[in-house]
Subunit: 271 residues, 2 copies
């Protein structure tokens, strides 16, 4: 590692412009399905929120409502402190591009380093084959790499072969995708977990629905600072109804802790 | 049924006072654990939001951040329309009592009657014994009814005996509570689902932690208008860590549809 900031940190950088407002520059490298990836946007607004209240740098809960599709280029993150007291603060953020409202969000921020250590988690980590038996972007068929969205080059994902059939036109039909995940040039931290929960292809790919699945709402809860090393991601859906589906994502760290949980409500892709 | 409004409708009634602001009167009958029940508050602000945009009366997604504990008496619900276009609108609501900020919320509203009919849900309904073999408030030991919080008299809940051990000091330790649920004097509708997702005792009761579990954030997704009849509720937790736990609730209607899903992040009760 050098002193050069990692790609993710450069791309989600924000500059204070006064009164709780921050300037961002949304990178074209984070485009997928004709819009900017939601997790990247969450990390960008999350970085601005982490600077608003001294001593409360970390997201504990963030709920983002996606108002319109963001595009590469300048954006403004406007933050408000709704309440600061005790161990957490309640915050709000809005992302705009010119006159267009892109995202509105609410959040609880605090200090993840200061949380109690007791854990009584009954959830179990993703049942993933070892890293070397999982399939990555480098294993994609010739030709398909060039057609992949730019987002796919921003991180290293190694999919469980049993949940990667969609990549070769043979989805499992279970509504479950899981993988190993890391950023190429830095260790995970709370901000990168905001990216991780929305990094995989929509779980509807595993149901044979390959269109874009626009997110209406995404909420993520963070429970601990992640340990260094690979993360494991699993997301799944159990309720495809009313033209929408829920997508529940879990992020497990190298110390076998369930460090983040998210749920989003998205529109089912049109056939 | 008569023309008299049901208790729930009277208690969640709001009166427009101009500029998207509504007056409410929070009822003492909805107190539990020293504060007003979160589901009741969600339904009250949800009713105000349903009046803001013509043709979009129903909650599709609502995320509420609980800023401070509400108390019985007058309250103000301030609503804002962030975007209205297409089939849904993005809205915001704040609940205040005097100078005190109680709740801040974001929401997607639409018309649940207009959603597509296709369903591909793999989740299964709660495995509940028949109603007559479940235990209700009327079955509570003598003396305990008088000590029960007022909230318990607002609806009819019949618990699965296997997940009701906490009521007699013998929690199962699974972190799962499920029951039949109905309002005594009306059929379910989308607004009453906002109440239902937070009606049961905290799932931590089933883990032997009997204190108050303050909600930091609660998000609910609605997928269909519920059919008339009893609802079935199941909530559970799988990640008790960092001094917090998540509580996932499912609401199933009499037509065997998963009509609502919620997740909340709450503080673990102090021992």
């Amino acid at each position: 590692m050098t002193d050069v900031p990692a790609e993710f940190d450069r791309a989600t950088d924000v500059t204070a412009s006064g009164d709780g407002t921050y300037d961002a520059d949304l990178g074209a490298g984070w485009v997928v399905g004709g819009a900017i990836n939601g997790g990247y946007l969450l990390a960008t607004l999350g970085r601005a929120l982490g600077r608003t209240v001294p001593g409360k740098p970390d997201p504990v809960a963030v709920s983002a409502y996606f108002v319109s599709a963001s595009t590469p280029g300048p954006a403004t993150v406007t933050t408000r402190v709704l309440r600061d007291g005790g161990s957490v603060a309640t915050l709000a953020a809005d992302v705009t591009q010119g006159d267009a409202h892109r995202i509105t969000a609410l959040a609880t921020y605090g200090d993840l380093s200061g949380l109690p250590d007791e854990v009584a988690t009954t959830a179990t980590p993703p049942d993933l084959p070892p890293l070397q038996r999982c399939v990555g972007f480098a294993d994609a068929p010739p030709g398909s790499r060039e057609q992949a969205p730019p987002l796919m080059s921003r991180f290293d994902m190694r999919f469980d072969p049993a949940s990667a059939g969609w990549a070769v036109g043979a989805p499992s039909g279970r509504g479950l995708i899981q993988c190993w995940f890391r950023l190429p040039d830095r260790e995970p931290d709370p901000l990168s977990l905001l990216l991780a929960v929305d990094a995989m292809p929509p779980v509807t790919f595993d149901l044979g629905m390959f269109g874009w699945a626009p997110t209406l709402e995404l909420t993520v809860h963070l429970r601990a600072r992640p340990a260094p090393g690979w993360l494991r991601l699993r997301h799944e859906t159990r309720n495809v109804a009313g033209g929408m589906f829920e997508e529940d994502c879990e992020v497990w760290d190298a110390a076998d802790r369930l460090v983040a949980q998210s749920r989003q409500l998205a529109r089912t892709p049109r056939a």
